[in-house]
C-alpha cells in the first residue's frame, strides 16, 4: 500500500537529488566529466559570493521577523475574547492563502517606479518617494518585506495553536507567585512553546532559504544581481543561460544548510515523539 509513495519519492525526489550531484560535475555541453571544476569556477565569481551572502542574510532576517511578528500577533489574537478570534484569524491568514506569485505582483505594483502607491502616499505628507526596486538596499528590503508578509501568518497560526495548548493553570500559579506579564512570558509561555518555536523556525528557514517565487517576480534578482538567491540565480544560470551543470552546482550549495536544519528538526521531532 505504501508502494506508490515510495516510488514517487524514489523516482522524483531521491533520484534527481543524486543526479544533480552528478550533473554538477559535467561541462556545459554535458559531454565531459569535469569533476569539481564547476564548483571551483563558482568560487571565483564575485556574483556567487554575493548570492551566498544575500541568501543567508535574507533567510535569517526574514525568518527572525516572521517569528517575531507571528509570535506577537498570536498573542494579540489570543488576548481577544474567543468568539471574535475566528474572524481576526481569518483576516490575518490571507497573505498565506493567496498564491505568492499573485501577491508579489501586487507588491510589484505597489513598488512600481512611476506609479507606486506608497510613494504617492509618502509625497502627500512631504517625504520624497523611494526607488523601491531600483536601488540595491531598498530592493533587498522590499524582498524581505514581501517574504515576511507572506510567511508571518503561518507563524501566527502555529504559535496561536501552541499558545492555546499551554494550560491556564500554569499562569494562575504564576500569578499567585507574583509574576508580572514579562516574567510569565519568559518563565511559562516560552519554555512551553519551545518545541513549536524551534520546529517552525527551522522549517521556515529551509523554505525561505530556497525561495524562488518572490525574488523572481519582484526583482528577477536585480538590480545588478543584488537580490539574487540560490534558487533564482540557479534558474538564470542553468535554464536561461543554458548551462545546466553550472545551475545544478549552484543549487547544490543549498544542500549543506538544508541538511543542517533538517537534522535539528528531525532531532526535535523524535525527541517530542519520545516524550509523548
Amino acid at each position: 500500500m505504501a508502494l506508490p509513495l515510495i516510488l514517487i519519492i524514489a523516482l522524483l525526489v531521491l533520484y534527481p537529488a543524486v543526479y544533480s550531484i552528478h550533473m554538477a560535475m559535467l561541462n556545459k555541453s554535458m559531454e565531459h566529466f569535469v569533476g569539481l571544476d564547476n564548483f571551483a569556477f563558482l568560487f571565483t565569481r564575485e556574483t556567487f559570493w554575493m548570492v551566498v551572502k544575500q541568501s543567508v542574510v535574507f533567510a535569517l532576517t526574514a525568518v527572525a521577523f516572521k517569528a517575531l511578528i507571528g509570535f506577537c500577533v498570536a498573542h494579540f489574537v489570543h488576548n481577544v475574547p474567543v468568539k471574535g478570534q475566528r474572524k481576526w484569524r481569518g483576516m490575518l491568514l490571507v497573505p498565506w492563502v493567496i498564491p505568492p506569485a499573485m501577491s508579489t505582483l501586487a507588491w510589484l505594483w505597489l513598488f512600481d517606479p512611476s506609479y507606486s502607491a506608497f510613494n504617492w502616499s509618502l509625497e502627500q505628507i512631504g517625504i520624497p518617494g523611494v526607488n523601491w526596486l531600483g536601488s540595491p538596499n531598498w530592493a533587498r528590503f522590499a524582498v524581505i518585506l514581501v517574504n515576511v508578509w507572506v510567511g508571518a501568518p503561518f507563524f501566527m497560526i502555529m504559535y496561536l495553536a501552541a499558545l492555546k495548548s499551554v494550560p491556564e493553570q500554569l499562569y494562575e500559579a504564576a500569578d499567585i507567585d507574583g509574576a508580572n506579564w514579562w516574567q510569565k512570558l519568559w518563565y511559562v509561555t516560552l519554555p512551553m512553546m519551545r518545541n513549536i518555536i524551534a520546529i517552525t523556525a527551522l522549517f521556515s528557514l529551509i523554505v525561505t532559504f530556497a525561495n524562488f517565487d518572490i525574488v523572481r517576480v519582484l526583482t528577477s534578482g536585480g538590480p545588478v544581481d543584488q537580490t539574487h538567491m540560490f534558487a533564482t540565480w540557479a534558474f538564470k544560470v542553468g535554464i536561461e543561460g543554458s548551462d545546466l551543470p553550472l545551475g545544478a552546482a549552484v543549487s547544490l550549495f543549498m544542500f549543506p544548510i538544508l541538511a543542517f536544519a533538517a537534522t535539528f528538526i528531525l532531532r526535535d521531532i523524535t525527541r517530542r515523539g519520545n516524550e509523548a
Binding site: 500500500m1 505504501a2 509513495l5 514517487i8 519519492i9 522524483l12 525526489v13 533520484y15 534527481p16 544533480s20 550533473m23 511578528i69 498573542h75 494579540f76 489574537v77 488576548n79 481577544v80 475574547p81 481576526w88 481569518g90 490575518l92 491568514l93 490571507v94 497573505p95 492563502v97 493567496i98 498564491p99 506569485a101 499573485m102 501577491s103 505582483l105 501586487a106 507588491w107 512600481d112 506609479y115 502607491a117 504617492w120 508578509w149 497560526i157 502555529m158 501552541a162 495548548s165 500569578d175 522549517f203 529551509i206 530556497a210 524562488f212 517565487d213 523572481r216 534558487a231 534558474f235 542553468g238 545546466l244 545551475g247 543549498m254 544542500f255 538544508l258 533538517a262 528531525l266 521531532i269
Partner: protein, 291 residues
C-alpha cells in the same frame, strides 16, 4: 485585596485594548496588497496613469474583468491550472491515504524510518530538484519521443512530489489518533483490511482528508517554479506563469488587467479558504501538533 483584584481585571482589559489596536494595524498591513489589487482592477487604464490618488476609485469599471474573462488566452490558463490541480489532488489522495494507512497501522519492517523519511523529503525544496528533473525530462523526450517538455500535463507528474509527502504526514497523524480498539471491533465484526480503511478510517478521519485535499489543491494552484521551467508556449501555461509572462508585454504594463488577472488567479484558493477555513488551518497545524 480589592486593589489587587481590580488591577488583575484592569490588566486584562488593557491587554485586550492594546491587542485590538495592534490587531487593526496588522490587519491593515496584511490586507493592503489584496485590497489594492481589487481597487486597481476596478479602474480604467486612463485613471491608473493619471496622477490621482491610487487608493480611491473615481470611475469604477468592470472592463478589466470582462476582457479577461472573455480572453481565450486567459481562460486557457485557468483551464490548465484547474485541470492540473484537480488531477494532482486526485493522485495525491490516491497515493497518500493508502500509504498513511500502511504506515500508521501495519508495523512492517522499516515503517518508522519510512515515515520519518517521508517527512524529510518534504524538506528537499523544488529549487534543488528542478534542474536535474529538467535535464532528465529533456533526455527522456529525446530518447522516447514523448513530449515531456512544454506540456502542461507534465506538471501533473511533477507536482505530487510536493504534495504527497506532507499530505501523507497529515493523514498519518489523523489515522494514528484513531484508537486501535476500533480496528479490533471491526475485525471481529468481520471487516477485511480494505473495508476497515474505506468504511472506518476514511469516514472518521474525514477532517484530515479534507485538510490534506485543500493543502494539495492550494500548493498545486500556486506553483510557479516548475511551470516556469517546464512550460513555455502560451497555450501550455498555468495561471501564475501565464499572467506574469503574457500580461507584461514588453515594457508596457497594463496594470489594470494584471491586477485583475492576479486577483482572479488568487480567487480559487481564497474562496476555498473562506468556506473551509477551519479545515485549512487544521491542515497547517496538523503537521506540528500531531507530531
Amino acid at each position: 485585596m480589592a486593589v489587587a483584584r481590580s488591577s488583575m481585571k484592569g490588566d486584562r482589559r488593557r491587554a485586550m485594548i492594546w491587542s485590538y489596536v495592534f490587531l487593526c494595524i496588522f490587519v491593515v498591513f496584511f490586507l493592503t496588497p489584496p485590497i489594492y489589487m481589487l481597487i486597481t482592477s476596478l479602474k480604467t487604464n486612463a485613471e491608473i496613469s493619471a496622477a490621482v490618488s491610487p487608493w480611491w476609485i473615481f470611475s469604477p469599471t468592470l472592463d478589466n474583468y470582462v476582457e479577461l474573462l472573455t480572453s481565450p488566452t486567459y481562460l486557457t490558463f485557468f483551464r490548465n491550472s484547474a485541470l492540473v490541480s484537480i488531477l494532482v489532488v486526485s493522485i495525491t489522495m490516491a497515493v497518500s491515504i493508502p500509504a498513511a494507512f500502511a504506515l500508521s497501522r501495519m508495523k512492517f519492517w522499516g515503517s518508522a524510518t519510512l515515515a520519518t523519511g517521508v517527512f524529510l523529503t518534504y524538506l528537499i525544496p523544488e529549487t534543488l530538484l528542478f534542474i536535474p528533473l529538467f535535464q532528465t525530462f529533456v533526455w527522456v523526450t529525446e530518447f522516447t519521443g514523448i513530449e515531456l517538455i512544454n506540456r502542461w500535463w507534465v506538471l501533473v507528474v511533477l507536482y505530487p512530489t510536493l504534495t504527497v509527502p506532507f499530505a501523507t504526514w497529515i493523514m498519518i497523524g489523523y489515522f494514528s489518533s484513531i484508537p486501535k480498539e476500533l480496528d479490533e471491533a471491526a475485525l471481529i465484526d468481520g471487516a477485511s483490511y480494505l473495508q476497515i480503511l474505506t468504511k472506518i478510517f476514511i469516514p472518521v478521519a474525514l477532517p484530515g482528508i479534507i485538510a490534506a485535499t485543500i493543502f494539495a489543491f492550494t500548493v498545486s494552484w500556486a506553483q510557479f517554479l516548475y511551470p516556469l521551467a517546464f512550460t513555455t508556449s502560451t497555450d501550455q501555461l498555468v495561471l501564475p506563469v501565464g499572467i506574469i509572462t503574457t500580461l507584461i508585454k514588453g515594457d508596457v504594463f497594463t496594470w489594470g488587467q494584471i491586477m485583475t488577472g492576479a486577483l482572479l488567479g488568487a480567487a480559487p484558493p481564497l474562496v476555498i479558504y473562506a468556506f473551509l477555513m477551519d479545515y485549512y488551518i487544521a491542515g497547517l497545524t496538523a503537521g506540528a501538533t500531531k507530531g
